[in-house]
Symmetry: D2
Subunit: 279 residues, 4 copies
């Protein structure tokens, strides 16, 4: 551009300059503190799941909550090739795009019908607990919120699965919440809602047990997570799955292939059990 | 569309139909197996970091490797508001977009200069180890690969930090690798390269100790991770940070603000220490 | 993986196989037809804006609608460095990520407060037109929907601008809609709403003329676009802006810089006019 | 957070404050100037494709270049449901995610093998033109760069198509470049390379005529576009296709379906021709 045609103008400041605050992490030369704890001091002393809790909730979890959160994060780590998020990631991978692009595309598929159910279920349960605060029994509240869904012909969020008739992950999460004594009113309400729903069997074309999203929703609500952080736990949990599929697609398949989610086989490790004594 | 104008044509199959394979996770009714292990059985029995290793590497980690991996994942969980990934996530958040969109945008900023360094550093170290296989000593190999960078006036990947003069996370990772006895030739080579680089102090305008990316690169290479999975560990580690910042932006700041990375203060928890006995 | 441990299992088909339909583009060997028109035949014979209309709406636009749509697409092509989408794109660019990643991050920032206003405004106007169908006059309907927003202390979607007190793009779009005789009831209603809003001046801290989003919303609604396609026109319009900023960041600025939206100047071409006789 | 535990600290400025420049668009109250032209003045006076050129290249295109660019942008507007970008967008759409998320995921699939070919082809041609500057004839240069690809058993970028044996879009673009007299040395070189490649028919398992990416690459290089802006034109061109498919998926298909790219039919408008007298 010739200097003659140039017109150097300070662009106006649209918003008045003012300082803003963050309460997550402070940075000083050679010192990083997460929620007040020196990062290098917590490394090796708390696990990743506990560090996630610290960062999102502001305080260290108790060891019990740490165990519960580890189980929540493990529960959704992968679900094979057919979820839309996995297929989005694989379709980006087949174009030769870098791993992070595949993963970002996968995350975008965590829409209302896939992962987003956790937040919806947390809100669904809180509607019920408002009824409990107003004097209804847990079972009455469960029946009321279930009836609302039945009336509008909607599956309540957190119930049923497009493939499983009984979700083994939900069962295990509830069992752990019981054993670890972290079960609270959200878990009790969702179990009550499951019973209420069974009475409406005729209204739905498939069984509707609590699914993994519902179990995560109830447990995380009991642990005090904000709605959108409930969904966020699912994101953290599934990220390794998106990475593993994108990496497998990039390293094992020809580029630019047409990915048919139905025509695949599993050829991995045989069914096996954890070794004895493995916690 | 009127039926008259419709032209129903089977669209040709561009690729011959054939079955394809995955070795990650198998799905059967009410049964999910990750690398052969029933998911509900590993929930509560292995931690999330160990499940990440299982999914990405195909086998359970030893408890020692599990501890090392937890430390690696904790090391990069957040670095305040100034990394480009965090600012990308916050700029998406200020538009009112859902949390997952903020996170996806943040992940897209894990470019060559930010996070991508891990893969570059793994390749840098492997070039050195090829020299070792060819007969050079560790220190000679380190000097050779460092000299290459110096000659092209490039900072070797995994060294130096735009803010810290000594990266406390790298020091802690190396200390743990030593104590846990998982140190291997990549760690030894990067320490040798750090020494070699110190001799070239005059060629750079700042100190260049190993940074957290370099430490992760060396340790993950010693653990056998593929190049792009080295970067992937950083993605998993930083995801909670992106979530925390997007959530803070969405809940604490006015929408559509102009985010100036420089004009911020930390107003979170005071500096504190882990309680006694917290492993 | 040793062959002994492998377990080859056909993964179950989650959804029954059935054919599905698309009505957009048909592909045969050496023949691509968009909405029935051979693509190579329309190339050079209709402009890009007209092809966008054909693809999204199913039919060729009249030349008049083609001109209107070109103006709509030009109207939002760029708005300098300060929109959150532009800053998201630039923050991804400074990490060294490829251009497409910057652009994708920018698109994610087209949230409810930025671009998403078009859909909200279309719905706002349709609420008013429902009142008109019910017997109210255009002005009464405008006053009713404006009063609703005032009562809930919300700025109606499509009005006001964080920086401009009068949006020159909106004025030009309305002028063209009038001259091209494509003005319809949505445009008439939004002008009536602008008048109704002026009577509530005391309730807001700034002038609230129709902004470019409001003008696009009204005109696109009059042209028959579906709600989410109204937003989509903004996406198409702004994409070149995102590209230009990402490219400028990548080619003109140092990597890994801290992007302060306030501290920038414009040093481009001086203010100039279209040459005589240009269109 | 209790005030007792708060520790308000100004976070250090990592980079010295300095002003930075942009030459794209200047913003003043009620005045937006793109490359010096008032935006409201060019609206209705230049088409969208011309505005794209102005924004990316800094000057208004000639009417001839405007026509060529319109054809380039129309050429890749859609290619049915099977490209990975389209499938990524549809897989995100089936999760219920908003339109912009589908589109962002689609853009991420414009990887090296899909769209990215344009940049690779521009570089391929510039390697040839360097030989021409060094004294080789156009045909010799073409043979040299083709021979390099043949030797490394790679298809030269911009040649061949996974489905078409002759790309009708490339033929039309070359015809227009000839008629509009914008053909330059890149177009002549790619035609020479096509002839050179035909002599190596035995080395490849399919015909390798210039494809639409190759034609765009050669024409855009002749028009003076930077490498990454060549790819960017493809992004602009295909965005409406991504939007149309995401919208069709969201409005016509059941959510959470398994998208098989092979089992689809076209049921849109019958084959038809442009009306007489249309441009």
């Amino acid at each position: 551009m010739s200097s003659k045609s140039v017109d150097r103008r300070a662009q106006p400041r649209i918003v008045a300059e003012e300082r803003w605050q963050t309460s997550l992490t402070s940075i000083e030369p050679n010192m990083i503190q997460v929620r007040g704890y020196p990062l290098d001091e917590i490394m090796g002393r708390i696990g990743f799941a506990e560090a996630v809790y610290l960062l999102l909730m502001g305080e260290l979890p108790t060891p019990t909550i740490g165990r519960m959160l580890n189980a929540v994060l493990v529960s959704s780590i992968d679900h094979g090739v057919t979820p839309p998020s996995t297929l989005a990631a694989r379709n980006v991978a087949t174009s030769g795009a870098p791993l992070k692009d595949c993963v970002a595309a996968g995350i975008l598929a965590f829409g209302p019908h896939h992962g987003g159910d956790i937040e919806s279920c947390m809100r669904f349960l809180d509607r019920g607990l408002t009824l409990v605060r107003g004097g209804k029994s847990m079972q009455q509240a469960a029946e009321a919120i279930v009836a609302e869904c039945v009336a509008s012909k909607e599956t309540p969020p957190g119930f049923g699965h497009r493939y499983h008739t009984r979700d083994p992950r939900a069962a295990r999460l509830f069992q752990m919440a019981l054993e670890l004594e972290v079960e609270g009113e959200h878990v009790r309400l969702i179990r009550a809602a499951e019973r209420a729903l069974a009475a409406h069997k005729a209204d739905f074309d498939r069984p509707l047990p609590v699914n993994v999203d519902g179990a995560i929703a109830a447990i995380c609500a009991d642990l005090g997570f904000a709605y959108e952080l409930g969904n966020a736990l699912f994101l953290i949990s599934r990220l390794p799955g998106l990475i593993a599929h994108a990496h497998e697609e990039r390293t094992r398949q020809a580029p630019m292939r047409q990915i048919d989610p139905k025509d695949h086989d599993y050829d991995g490790a045989r069914s096996r059990r954890l070794p004895e004594g493995r916690n």
